[in-house]
């Protein structure tokens, strides 16, 4: 604990950096995936699925470093990690979003169309609200995975909470590693709790039914 108290402000700084690195991938990645899942036509789905599965299988360490060579991003700084994490978030969220939308009964959609709703209205007022439970559970997976995966960025020079693992291991300071584990955990659980609350707030009609998850 001594180490933690002596370095509390340093750890807080790393935690802030960590947060700033994961927020874009979680938000942007999810939006892209949700919109993409709705827009991609049925006949393209096998192709998109194959590409995204392959993308998801790229080791993060390799993608972090390959990006400057591939797309000319700066070598130093969090840009590469942010882009890579966004790509992983899209790849993961796309499948959850498709599942969530496929749970919406087609009879409901037909009814809404019969009532004269446009495609956009159908999406915003019917499909999106009904898919929320599925989308939220997908988002919870994406947020937790992104927060913990971002730590690997420390290996390629992004000074976030993952730095505590590398430095703590080099200097043999177990408290430093444990501090990093706890800090990442707290951030991930905070996202998770926030999304759970968001899910409840967005689907008030479900709360009465005593929904779990």
């Amino acid at each position: 604990m001594d180490w933690f108290f002596a370095n509390a402000s340093f750890v807080a700084g790393l935690a802030l950096t960590h947060l700033s690195i994961v927020i874009v991938p979680i938000v942007l990645g999810s939006i892209l995936a949700i919109v993409g899942a709705r827009l991609v036509r049925a006949r393209w789905v096998p192709g998109v699925t194959a590409v995204l599965s392959a993308v998801y299988a790229i080791p993060s360490l390799a993608l972090f470093v390959a990006l400057p060579a591939l797309i000319g991003t700066p070598f130093v700084g969090p840009t590469n990690v942010v882009i890579a994490l966004t790509v992983y978030a899209v790849a993961s969220m796309f499948f959850s979003a498709r599942d969530a939308f496929s749970q919406v009964p087609s009879s409901t959609k037909t009814t809404a169309t019969a009532l004269g709703m446009s495609r956009f209205q159908l999406f915003v007022h019917v499909e999106l609200p009904m898919a929320i439970p599925g989308l939220i559970s997908g988002l919870r997976v994406v947020s937790a995975t992104t927060v913990s995966m971002a730590a690997i960025g420390a290996v390629v020079g992004v000074r976030n909470l993952g730095y505590l693992f590398l430095d703590g291991f080099q200097r043999r300071i177990p408290e430093e590693i444990v501090t990093g584990l706890v800090a990442v955990f707290v951030i991930a659980i905070a996202f998770d709790g926030g999304l759970w609350l968001l899910g409840r707030a967005l689907t008030p009609w479900r709360a009465r039914g005593g929904e779990r998850v």
Binding site: A57, V141, V213
Partner: protein
């Protein structure tokens, strides 16, 4: 910096395939570590998932573990375990850290497999006078197989890409090609090693997907 022809040349050079740190050995090692971690995870998650599904008690464990495990960065856990147990047991540390990410999806898959069996089937097994063990062995386990394999597929995909961290603690697998390639600026080696990992992931996940569909029609 990197080109397709360099990559092709890298693959064509037998030097890169042979020896302790050649592609063949690293590939085998990568697959072996993955399978060992999945085996350990299965030994833990399968009985536990069946028990929770059978008794209906401890569901919170399935859901809680799922969220918690994703929030634990494997690199940190691995370093902490190696510091704690010492370098002699670094392979154990690695397998434990990998099993930690494989257990939750396996557990969830097994649990879901049991609880989604229609009550009619489970009740009629009971009505026929089957004991608790017999129901698990002859009804619930076979009918949960497909869902379990689904969980195994998720676990597999995550473990295969995480084995890449092994060289940080002095162990092998295809991560060696990535970590060494980064230090030596040998980007062909980095990309080649990554490609092999992607191929393993796709082949393994297709195989498990096929198995999942094969076992699905049992119901």
């Amino acid at each position: 910096m990197f080109s397709i022809s360099d990559l092709a040349a890298w693959f064509a050079d037998p030097v890169n395939w042979d020896g302790r740190y050649g592609l063949w050995f690293l590939l085998l090692e990568h697959v072996a570590i993955t399978l060992a971690a999945l085996l350990i995870a299965t030994i833990v998650a399968l009985p536990l998932g069946l028990a929770i599904g059978h008794t209906g008690r401890g569901e919170f464990l399935v859901i809680g573990l799922g969220s918690i495990s994703r929030a634990v960065p494997t690199m940190g856990l691995l370093f902490a375990l190696v510091l704690l147990w010492g370098v002699q047991l670094r392979d154990v540390s690695l397998l434990v850290a990998l099993a930690a990410i494989a257990i939750p999806p396996l557990l969830a898959g097994t649990f879901a497999g049991v609880t989604t069996i229609p009550w009619g089937i489970r009740d009629s097994a009971k009505a026929q006078g089957m004991t608790g063990f017999q129901r698990v062995r002859y009804v619930e386990f076979p009918l949960a197989t497909s869902s379990m394999i689904g969980g195994m597929r998720i676990a597999f995909i995550q473990v295969v890409s995480t084995v890449v961290l092994a060289p940080l603690v002095g162990l092998g697998g295809l991560g060696f090609g990535i970590v060494q390639g980064l230090a030596l600026r040998n980007y062909s080696q980095v990309v080649a090693s990554s490609l092999v990992i992607i191929v393993i992931t796709i082949v393994g996940s297709q195989l498990l997907g096929w198995l999942q569909r094969r076992t699905d029609d049992r119901l």
